[in-house]
Amino acid sequence: MEHSPIPQKSRGGFRPGAGRKPKSGIPGEPSGVMRIPASDKAAVINLINTRRHLRMAPIPAGASRPAIDPPRVLIPQFSNRIAAGFPSPADDYIEDRLDLNQLLVKNVPATYFLDVIGNSMVGAGIFEGDKLVVDRSLEPKHGNIVVAVVDGEHTVKRLFKRAGKIELRSENPQYPPIQFKEGQELLIFGVVTNSIHPAK
């Protein structure tokens, strides 16, 4: 393929319509091309002119420009109003109130509450109507109080696991232990970590 030689004269120099349009932006700031509906053209030009005008306007001393998109700032709220007098000496010592969840719930997604029915566990301080805090993530060990599945029901008992023997024991002499034979599966819902007993 042959190229026709380009006359030296046409290289470089001024080309009409090339380069950034005059007054099309802020010096030093890159500009971009955008396609807009013809009917919106006037409104957009108007908006740009207004913004340019605002930008160019001298800022009065002591004034701050309004932010177009104000950042969100979280400001800690103090409990004391700032009084004209002496500030509270306790302000430096403010801590969060005690939260019972912190004490009773170690693993939130694995913790469940159950209501106690019956009195087979009174020896362990668990009474009818108490609320049990049960953590499913804990491994049930010998001596733990557990909620187990017995005959399709959730049952609270103490787990006995010794010498190849697995039993669910009550803490009340009136109730015999539930024994598990070899091959019989013991299903455990979770380990009881606390029981909540109202004192009146």
């Binding site: 998109d69 104000p70 969100r72 693993n107 939130v108 997604p109 694995a110 469940y112 509450f113 159950l114 209501d115 106690v116 029915i117 019956g118 009195n119 087979s120 566990m121 668990i126 009818e128 609320k131 049990l132 049960v134 499913r136 993530s137 909620v147 599945v149 017995v150 005959d151 399709g152 029901e153 959730h154 049952t155 609270v156 008992k157 009550s170 109730y175 299903l187 819902f189």
Partner: protein, 419 residues
Amino acid sequence: MDVNNFYVSCERVFNPSLEGRPIIVLSNNDGCAVARSNEVKSLGIKMGQPWFQMRDLAQQHGIIAYSSNYTLYADMSNRVMAILSQFSPNQEVYSIDECFLDLTEFQSLSLVDYGQQIRQRVKLWTGLPVCVGVGPTKTLAKLANHLAKKNPVFNSVCNLNSMNPKEQDRWLSHTAVDEVWGIGTRLAPKLTGMGIRTVLNLKNSDPVTLRSWFGVVVEKTVRELNGIICLELEDISSPKQQIMSSRSFGSYVTRREDLEEAVSSYTTRAAEKLRRQGSVAGSIYVHIRTNPHQKNEPQYGQGMTIPLPEATDDTLKLVKAATWAVRRLYKAGYDYQKASVILSELLPRDVLQQDLFSHDASNGTSTRMKLLDEVNLKMGENTLRLASNGIHQTWGMRSGNRSPAYTTRWTELPKAMAL
């Protein structure tokens, strides 16, 4: 990750006597089956099958039907998602019981073992059985999940990445094309008609040709089946662009007052969601309709959008607009079956544009609304509500056999027998 028979499994966690028995969970108003236990599936009952059609079968086989208990399901879902978030920094909660995890950073581990860890932890902490599918794309991961669920050989965890291409294709050739994510029941027969019966057929199809027939979604699906990522993990923590509250009534509604009550209640719900995500709405859309399946009854359905003078999250203002719309839309002489409320043009509350001519000097959520939300959070849903929501709510949902809110209400906790 996907929970097996999620709603049914939730019921079983708190009522172990249901283990091994045929259970279904019915949709709002006890209309049709939305979840089935395996025992029910094997009786041939389909998803979405109306309850009245299976009543005889249910009696014959002792199927236990539950009304849906979304309070319980939502809480269990939140627990599952919280546990899963411990396994990857990038999580997309796709639905109430499905979730994608980005495991790119964990590829040096055996992902089958990792999947087993995920499965065991969810099972231990919540009692819910889950399946895990691993793949190079979301479409393949979902397919792997399906394989894990249907084939006991995988022990509930299937990793397509660890298979050689031949083995992978063998599994794909044994799976029907309608199991692919995004290939609906409408599309599948058309593909089958073109000779694309299995997932492998679809994988080996020309994406460009299929695009010209079925659109870009199918093209993307084919590419995804070939391991090319077209669907990124979506961050769902970004606030919703629209909030909808829509429900069928428990029984047909004919009076305008009842319709207003219902729409007022739905708007209240939507406004609560709106405040929870920290947004304000610029417009509200209200739609009412009769039952399209009642072909012999006169039909009517109409909706309208009401632009709000000022974007707001105030229940009172939104209800005022919504009930105004109902008065406009309502026509006497029809049996209404459903109403919907959609809040849109949502903006974050803290960039709220004040109306120049507004008399309302309050900025952001009013004290009134904060009080409303706080009281209802503390004392239970709907403790404090607008009188316009109605007292008796004759249009309310039927939920004949709903299980207790085991995990969210102190008065409905499960029982531990000490007997």
